[in-house]
Amino acid sequence: MKFTLNGQEVDAQSAAADTPLLYVLRNDMQLNGPKFGCGLGECGACAVLIDGKVARSCSVPLKAVDGKKVTTLEGLSPDASKAASAQALQDRAVLDVSAAETKAPATARTYTLHVVQQAFVDAQAAQCGYCTNGMIMALVALFNQQPKASDEEIRHALSGHLCRCGTHVEIMQAAARARELIAKGHSPALPAAGASTTAKAA
């Protein structure tokens, strides 16, 4: 089953066609963004974009994305996600006595984040952060359709996304911040196809 994942064509050969997309993304493609929350499409933690529309990957079979474009959290700021992932693996050498030795840390540099991700950092809009993926993906889809979405429209777009920590206030502030940055000219668009990606083909 071939599809475009974060700008790169991938082939999930070892998964059956009816496998929920979520497991293919997490296990075959080794992505962390989409999370298993309920498996029933109720909570939104597994959200991804399929051809730019927000979808619940726990409830979408692999065959449904045949030939389509799937974007995950990692596909929004691919270089930054890649660097952060590499750094996180290195951190484990200190954080975890059981972690394998890793190479020396990468050299310092800064990255430009997707406007919605930047807004979440600016507003410090996460507690545990398990729902953050879904919140960000839903807002990316919304702002690509309606860059000036009102608070009411934002609440509506997020109302099917559950957060148990009660980060709603900060998430609304992040959404407002994203809207403000977009109004200043930062694009909410997805990176152009062919941009680098963190995905690994199975």
Partner: protein
């Protein structure tokens, strides 16, 4: 709000992390701990993973050759931001850059056991040995520089990782070479008091960039080479406790029933523990769903419905434990002029972590590796030792972040599940629960019954107050221990119902009893533990007294409240919401008005831990509600919340906790209750257990009192504690109807409104 537009990317590049072996600390990380294993009496065993002693400076602080600092704490970050706040404390105590500090949390082979991360204790209590150790390290650095330079210690200062002595600068890393820190923590050493660079500032959370970028953060994201996927099959008595035949309930497992499925590695059966291991995750799930398992029948739960819970809790066996009994209290209760006797009922609540619990285990070569999202990694270590009959120092439990838990969810359970399955297949196994398993088996926040007697004297002042509180809950043993028969399913009560059971009001005669009781279903602590229900009783009852006295509810409380911090906070809260003095119901709406508005107040300081315990932050709620008298729907329009946290290490972090508490407790109070049938929990997905959504979000005005010279207080739960009573008091102000049972669902409100109407009609 303030946005931080600069240095937002700092975290990606901040750390100059040290590899364990290359660290010329004050002893290296590994070396120091190995040495300690030989010297510290409590770490005398010979396993590969001795637990660092909580008594040694070396266990808390390490300094690398480059001057970078690693600090160790047995507590974990549950998504509250304590990793960042603890780093701030260390940076200021040691006079180093925040960016130079790396926090290692909740890792049994690396961090001392400071108990589970509960009771909002991390900053208030569990940070202290680490801060003391940091202060000692700084003292040592000054001493070393003094010896080198000949400058007396009192003329030496420290700044940004350097000791400055007589115009010379010595880097910390240079000074510590060849030194060790195998000295005892001095809990009398004075901590730094002023001139902070980081404490009191809203330093950005170190974990958020990785969370928004999808970098490895969570236990759920960890992939161990060669890892297989496991799923469990639980007995059908979902979420039951020892009254169900747990440990002796399995009749048969038909392995042939999944013979047609691909990828199956093994069916693991041990006592009542049943698991399947497969090559791929979806294969394990398919096997879990299709494996034919036969269990004994059991349907022994009492009536746990919302309408039946009150009687069930009344009938449940209790053992009285006197917390306070003033002389003559019983007599005073009998002799009140106006009696006010009330039963308050709290429902079963789910912690409701968005991510079902996950763990990975690797068992082999006489060692057990466990990766967990537990709030109690050291307790997990003890559980696994018991489960596998090995010494705890052969077990290494590493904590990664997890979905927020707000108390004990299934995070500990899955560790044992993963260990059993890994031991059976000889490979690393990852287990994640399904939504229905997490929701069904998480030890619930227990239902609670609070019975109040007492009343007023002739001047309508409180004459006597008696509160008896029943909290049928315990710690909930790791499920696999019970299922495999390692721990007998003997049912035990736990003395945890006494949190904030004694009101802060100085009533003339008081009698407070904890009615300890065994769990009815699997239960353990949940945010606000028993304090939230107990305060629902305290603050609803005094509100009724104020109404009977035709007094302003706040003025009436202040007659009995003497704590100056509480009094000052309430004064701030009144200003915050522009409180209009006067008794409740003074602006009662006409009978035919459908939407009616009301305002309610409640106050509490959260007292927790083993009785008599101690206090965390003080909090007040003033809440504005709208009640729809046709549908019974209660809308929380606005919450004015005020909190005195003492010194705030990270004010933005405190505010975030306050907001989180307000949203979560509003959800609990308005909507939430676990449903049961005779065999167990039936609300096992979000449709059956709805929580507050974005379109129901109240407006929140949060006021954080600045007290930079006071000790920091726990901030993780306090702002939940006044919630239920404040909303109940607001509903009373709006409608004249008093609700004594949480949650305040539309059907309950409607029934209460109807009952009040027919009561009023029949009394006319």
């Amino acid at each position: 709000m303030k946005f931080f537009t600069k240095d937002n990317h700092a975290q990606l590049t901040r750390r100059q992390l040290l590899k364990a072996g290359g660290m010329l600390m004050v002893g290296s990380v590994a070396g120091g701990h190995l040495l300690m294993a030989q010297t510290a009496p409590e770490a005398a065993a010979k396993g590969a993973f001795p637990i660092p002693s909580a008594k040694l400076v070396d266990s808390f602080i390490a300094i690398g050759a480059d001057g970078s600092v690693t600090a160790y704490n047995g507590h974990v970050d549950l998504g509250t931001g304590v990793r960042t706040a603890l780093g701030q404390l260390v940076a200021d105590e040691l006079y180093v850059d925040f960016a130079a500090v790396t926090m290692v949390l909740g890792h049994t082979a690396r961090t001392p056991d400071l108990g589970p991360t509960i009771a909002s204790n991390t900053i208030q209590v569990s940070s202290l040995p680490m801060r003391h150790a940091a202060a000692q390290v700084r003292q040592l650095l000054i001493k070393l520089a003094s010896e080198k330079s000949g400058v007396p210690a009192e003329h030496i200062t420290t700044q940004k990782g350097f000791v400055i002595a007589g115009g010379k600068r010595y880097g910390y890393g240079e000074l510590v070479q060849g030194q060790d820190l195998l000295i005892e923590v001095d809990d009398k050493i004075e901590l730094r008091k002023s001139g902070f660079e980081y404490i009191g500032k809203s330093v950005q959370r170190v974990d958020i960039p990785n969370k928004v970028l999808g970098a490895l953060t969570y236990i759920h994201d960890l992939r161990v080479p060669g890892m297989l996927h496991g799923r469990v099959i639980r007995p059908p008595y979902t979420g039951a406790d020892a009254t169900a035949p747990l440990g002796s309930s399995l009749v048969s497992v038909d392995e042939k029933s999944i013979a047609h499925l691909p990828g199956i590695v093994k069916v693991v059966v041990k006592g009542d523990f049943v698991g399947v291991v497969a090559e791929r995750e979806e294969q394990a799930i398919a096997a879990m769903r299709q494996l034919k398992v036969t269990w004994k029948e059991w349907n022994g739960l009492p009536d746990m419905s919302l309408s039946g819970l009150h009687q069930t809790l009344v009938d449940h066996a209790k053992t009285d434990r006197v917390l306070q009994e003033d002389e003559g209290a019983l007599q005073a209760i009998e002799q009140v002029k106006t009696a006010l006797t009330r039963d308050y009922v709290w429902p079963y609540h789910a912690h409701g972590s968005i991510g079902p619990s996950c763990a990975i285990a690797e068992v082999g070569n006489g060692q057990i590796q466990v990766w967990t999202g537990s709030q109690n990694p050291h307790d997990v270590c003890k559980d696994i030792a018991k489960l596998m009959d090995v010494n705890a120092d052969n077990i290494n439990v590493t904590r990664l972040e997890a979905s927020g838990c707000y108390g004990r969810n299934c995070a500990d359970d899955v560790c044992s599940d993963a260990v059993l399955m890994s031991a059976a297949v000889g490979k690393p196994v990852r287990v994640q629960l399904m939504r229905e398993q997490e929701a069904g088996w998480e030890p619930k926040g227990t239902g609670q019954l609070i019975r109040v007697r007492g009343g007023l004297d002739e001047q309508n002042n409180v004459a006597a107050y008696e509160l008896r509180t029943c909290y049928p809950s315990n710690n909930a043993s790791a499920l696999a221990l019970i299922l495999t028969g390692k721990v007998s399913a003997k049912i035990e009560a736990q003395q945890m119902g006494d949190r904030t059971a004694i009101p802060q009001y100085e009533y003339p005669k008081m009698r407070v009893i904890s009615q300890d009781a065994v769990p009815i279903v699997r239960a353990s602590w949940m945010r606000g533990v028993s304090a939230l229900p107990n305060v629902f009783a305290h603050e609803s009852w005094i509100d009724e007294c104020a109404y009977l006295a035709k007094a302003d509810p706040i003025e009436y409380r202040l007659r009995y409240l003497k704590d100056p911090r509480a009094v000052a906070l309430i004064a701030e809260a009144k200003k915050q919401c522009n409180w209009q003095e006067g008794p409740a119901r003074r602006n009662a709406a006409p009978d035919d008005q459908r939407l009616v508005k009301g305002r309610g107040f409640a106050y509490a300081r959260y007292f927790h831990s083993k009785f008599p315990g101690y206090g965390a932050a003080w909090a007040t709620w003033v809440v504005d509600v709208t009640v729809d008298r046709e549908t019974g729907e209660v809308k929380v329009d606005k919450v004015f919340v005020a909190q005195d946290t003492g010194a705030m290490v990270n004010p933005a972090g405190v505010r975030h906790q306050v907001h989180g508490n307000v949203v979560q407790s509003t959800s609990r109070v308005l909507k939430e209750f676990v449903t049961f049938d005779k065999s167990g929990v039936t609300s096992v997905e979000w449709g059956g257990y709805p929580i507050l959504r974005f379109d129901e979000l109240p407006e929140i005005d949060s006021l954080l009192v600045e007290r930079p010279n006071e000790a920091p207080m726990g901030a993780g739960e306090s702002a939940s504690v006044p919630s239920a009573a404040a909303v109940a008091n607001a509903i009373f102000d709006a409608t004249g109807v008093r609700l004594l049972e949480v949650p305040f669902t539309p059907s309950r409100v409607l029934a209460a409104l109807k009952a009040a109407k027919s009561g009023a009609a029949s009394s006319k």
